[in-house]
Symmetry: C2
Subunit: 122 residues, 2 copies
Amino acid sequence: MSLLPTRNAALRYCTPLAREPISPEQAEGVSRMLKALADPVRLRLMSMILSHEGGEACAMCDLTEGFDLAPSTLSHHLKVLHDAGLVDRDKRGVWVYYKARSEAMGALRTLFSGDLAAPQSA
Amino acid sequence: MSLLPTRNAALRYCTPLAREPISPEQAEGVSRMLKALADPVRLRLMSMILSHEGGEACAMCDLTEGFDLAPSTLSHHLKVLHDAGLVDRDKRGVWVYYKARSEAMGALRTLFSGDLAAPQSA
DNA sequence: CAAGGACATCGACATGCGTACATGTTGACA
DNA sequence: TGTCAACATGTACGCATGTCGATGTCCTTG
C-alpha cells in the first residue's frame, strides 16, 4: 500500500505526444501527473523545489514564502505532488524535505519533446 | 473578445521550472495550459492532432475514433484546448480542422527543459 | 428553397477539486 | 515526562469540471 502500482507505469510508457496517438492507458497515467501540476500553487511549489539549492526544499522552511495559504493547504498540495509521483518525501528530524523525482521530470520532458510543429516551418 | 489577452502572456514568460521559482502570474498562465491538457480525453485528442498527417486533424473525421463519447462532449474538449491556446481552429467547408499551436507546444517543452535533476547524477 | 450533416452552444446533473479549521501524530528539548 | 513545533489527516463547504441531450447555426447538396 506504500507504493501505487500505477505510479511507474505511466513513466515507462511515456512517449512523445507527437509520435503517435497515445493509448487510453498512457493518457490516463500521464493525465494524473499533469493534473497534479495543473494548479498555480503546485506549479510554484514544484518550481521552488526544482530551483532550490540541492534540488530539494524543506516544507515549512522554504516553501511557505510568497503564499497566503494555511499550512494544511500547503501540506495538501505537497501530498498531491507526492501521490502523483512527482516528488519524494524525506523526513529529517522535525522537518520534511521534498525533492523532485527525476524519472517523472524526464517523462514530462519526453512527452513534449520531438518535432511538435514539423510541417509548420517547412 | 476573439482573443484572450492572457493567451500569449504565458507563452512569453515561459521559462524552465528548474531555473528559478516562477512568478505567480506565470504559474497562473502555465497552469491554464496544463489544466487543459490534464485530462485523458484531451491528452489523446492532442496526441492524435499532433501525430496526424500534416499536424492537423478534422474533428468528426479523425478525432472520434476510439472515443465512446457524445459529439458534443468531444466538441467541448476541443473548445477547451482551443481556449487554452493549444490548438488553432480552421473551418473548411463543413469540416473543422484543428492544428497544434507551435508556440504553445514550444512553451511546454521549455517549461520541462533544462537540468531537472542536476545534483542527481553529478 | 428545402433537407440533412457537421459542428457549436446551452442548460442540467454528478463528480472532483481547492481551501480552511480542527484534530492527530511525531520528534526535539527541558 | 510534559510541552511545543512541524507537519499530516479528516471533515466540510463552495466552486469548477466532465458528461449528455436538446437545440441552434452554418454549409452543402438536391
